[in-house]
Amino acid sequence: MSGLTRYIARRVAFALLLVIIVSSAALVLARLAPGDFAASSVGLEARPETIEQTRARLGLNKSIGAQYRDWLASAIRLDFGRSLQYDRPVTELIPERAANTAILSVTALLLATVVGVPLGTIAGSRGRGILPDAIRAVSLVLLSMPPLLTSLFLVFVAARTGWFPIAGMRSAAPVDGGATLDLLHHLVVPSLAIGLPLAAMLERLQAQAVSETIGQPFIVAAIARGVPRSRVLWRDAFKASLRSVAAVYGLVIGTLLSGSFAVEIITAWPGLGSLMLDALRARDVFLVAGCAGTGAVFLGIGTLASDLALAALDPRAREA
């Protein structure tokens, strides 16, 4: 096996370990939180005996240790339990919602990268001027707005103008143009809500990195040699400056999942973020564990991709 394959294998193994650890931690934490699914779901009309019977039926009356052992035993067989709220296997509920979040996240990330990184390069390469100052101002505005307010604002604008649907992932009735176009139409508001602040973050990081890179000797040398300035910027400086963005990109991917729940809730996007939040509120312990584990998967993929990109970008820093 080559060094790279070994490296990837090691990372995958670790990622699996992380999924188990995080799911376990989430399960235990959800059990520790006050209240449980039985009491809050059956409601105030129930007698204590009813609550106890519901608990027994759902397996919530076991001690945390016993419940964890049982869960782990079935998890190894890839059975992650049944959701208490929805009475379906966790493995049935998560993939569809995770896919929805993935669609949203990828779109938002693409948007953020395509907008943020070039703008950051421009802003970082010019120092003073109207354009870089304007870019910086817009980025800072976006960074200062909480995601809740940004999404609320976008939904408000969409409602007022009627240009875009303000909720959901697809229309209830068939729409002309086809399903894909309908999906894209629905994607606009939520992906802007996530993507714009993300673009601002990438822009700021890239601007900083570029302004440092252009002071370096190899850039000065290239300009002195007569290489066209735009080529120097967009080919040499750009590549060298990507390391900061690449470094956090992985974490961004990994946390898009949990950071997007505000947006998912306001735009009613049926994704993993809102599933996690509902599960937490309802103390749906198995679903909580499943969602946390899925988050770990996202993060594992993200950080691996990020580390590989870093190595590719800067051969000087590659592992032996």
Binding site: P34, L44, A46, R47, T50, V155, I265, T267
Partner: protein
């Protein structure tokens, strides 16, 4: 909405001489949504299911009278007898709580003891069979419920046409109130499941002016938010405040100290009415018209507290007891519900004016229920609990000291205080007496005792506003748990 009982699946009924036995004639020709005929056996089966110990149904307690089950028997396929264990004035009203289940689908599960799991969220929709105007078409977990019209629905319109008029009803899960409102005011949804809160009134009014929705003002609501202390004897053993924390005087002083007008102005922006009891003027039949409201009297409140030894001994603005223990307690309430959070904030301010220091802890809903309902470890709670019906006889769990919803001290083996004993006796008579005027008089007496001891303190109830999209016709919004959907049969859409 009259809140009176009307014939539905039961076409007519008659009581025998002592009012304990009813003979009920069921409507003929009614079938379940799968075509199976509806008979008295289904009613008997439903009662058996409700009372079944293995099933542990939440319906169980609401179908008991004085703690005992009813006796139901089928005489013939369309007649049954209902015998009450003791006199029960509301009579067949008790059946309002009971949805009728199909024996032909669920009997095997009841026999096997698995009825509690029988129709769950993962049951195929076609399996779930009922008698109502709609049937379940689709359930997407956490997203939506789709209901299609039941072609076999027994009810017909006044002109003989088939009901319901709607072909499909989609209930979407919208977690955020702002999102729900935006969708309503831009015409993307037809109505909201619950009322329009006062803080959103202006947006909806604008939409009404633009012709997108129709706005209904239905008067004051039925269920105010409840503020109560943990009155379980011994709950504060070892706590230096035990001597006064559960005293009547403290609660009465709190009730006097809060300016209910100011409460309504702040929490509901003026769209609210002061209330003092679990029953509001919306409950026309049972609200006592001769009630003397509790006047806003901070000086009187202070005097009342001084009478149990709570005065400001060191001039720091907070009252202390004889041992120097400050009058300070913690109120828990539910996060994410503006009515409760705002209400708690107003009460905190008002109490600070008379020297009571109240700390407010907002917790997420499961934690609140756990604290007061399960663990019963709390000092005071501010919460919203709704009654299922207006007739107090059908909500005995709240009024009786032995009840499971007697929130301040649940399921007492025998009444812990004299006044609770008094209420128990009055309510028992109220339930058994057939004479309506006497029942009202007895209940007014119950409320008088309740008011004198304030086990639960009420401040204000909001006005109920309901908005319905203008394309929807034949709606009769009412002050009820489901303001619009309580009467779904005749709802229609204008094209």
């Amino acid at each position: 909405m009259t809140l009176d009982v009307e014939p539905w699946l039961a076409e007519s009924w008659s009581a025998d001489a002592d009012g304990r036995r009813f003979t009920i004639k069921l409507r003929q020709g009614v079938t379940f949504s799968d075509g199976h005929p509806f008979t008295a056996d289904d009613v008997v089966f439903t009662f058996r299911a409700a009372y079944d110990e293995r099933t542990a149904s939440a319906l169980h307690d609401s179908m008991l009278v004085a703690g005992k089950p009813l006796d139901v028997a089928a005489v013939d396929p369309h007649t049954l007898t209902l015998t009450f264990p003791s006199a029960f004035a509301p009579g067949v009203r008790i059946l309002d709580n009971l949805p009728i289940f199909p024996k032909h689908k669920l009997e095997p599960m009841l026999q096997a003891g698995t009825l509690a799991k029988a129709w769950g969220l993962s049951t195929p929709p076609a399996e779930i069979v009922g008698l109502g105007p709609f049937v379940l078409k689709e359930y997407a977990p956490g997203q939506r419920i789709v209901l299609d019209r039941n072609p076999r629905y027994w009810r017909k319109a006044a002109d003989g046409g088939a009901l319901p008029y709607l072909d499909r009803l989609t209930l979407e899960v919208i977690r955020d109130q702002n999102a729900e409102l935006l969708r309503l005011t831009s015409g993307q949804i037809d109505f909201t499941y619950t009322e329009v809160p006062p803080e959103s009134y202006a947006s909806v009014k604008r939409a009404a002016a633009d012709g997108i929705v129709r706005l209904f003002d239905l008067g004051v609501s039925m269920d105010p938010d409840s503020f109560w202390f943990n009155l379980k004897p011994g709950a504060f053993d070892g706590d230096p405040r035990a001597a006064w924390l559960q005293k009547d005087e403290l609660r009465r002083a709190i009730s006097m100290a809060v300016d209910r007008r100011r409460f309504s102005d702040t929490v509901f922006f003026g769209a609210g009415e002061p209330v003092y009891l679990p029953v509001t003027p919306a409950n026309k039949k049972w609200y006592p018209s001769d009630l003397a409201p509790i006047a806003h009297d901070p000086a009187g409140a202070k005097a009342l507290l001084a009478s149990i030894g709570l005065t400001d001994r060191n001039g720091d603005g907070t009252l202390e007891d004889a041992h120097g223990q400050p009058v300070r307690f913690t109120l828990i309430t539910q996060a994410g519900r503006p009515r409760l959070e705002r209400g708690a904030a107003v009460v905190k301010d008002e109490l600070a004016k008379i020297g009571i220091a109240m700390d407010v802890a907002t917790l997420d809903p499961a934690a609140v229920i756990d604290a007061f309902f399960v663990k019963k470890k709390y000092e005071a709670v501010y919460f919203h609990a709704a009654f299922s019906d207006t007739d107090p006889a059908t909500t005995p769990d709240f009024w009786f000291s032995s009840g499971g919803q007697h929130f301040w001290n649940m399921s007492q083996p025998k009444p812990a205080t004299d006044w609770e004993k008094q209420i128990d006796e009055l309510m028992a008579r109220q339930i058994a007496t057939p004479d309506e005027r006497e029942r009202k008089r007895l209940f007014a007496e119950v409320l008088r005792v309740f008011s004198a001891h304030q086990p639960v303190i009420y401040f204000a109830a909001p006005r109920v506003y309901v908005a319905v999209a203008s394309r929807v016709t034949n709606v009769t919004p009412a002050v009820y748990v489901t303001p619009v959907l309580w009467d779904p049969d005749t709802i229609a859409i204008r094209h």
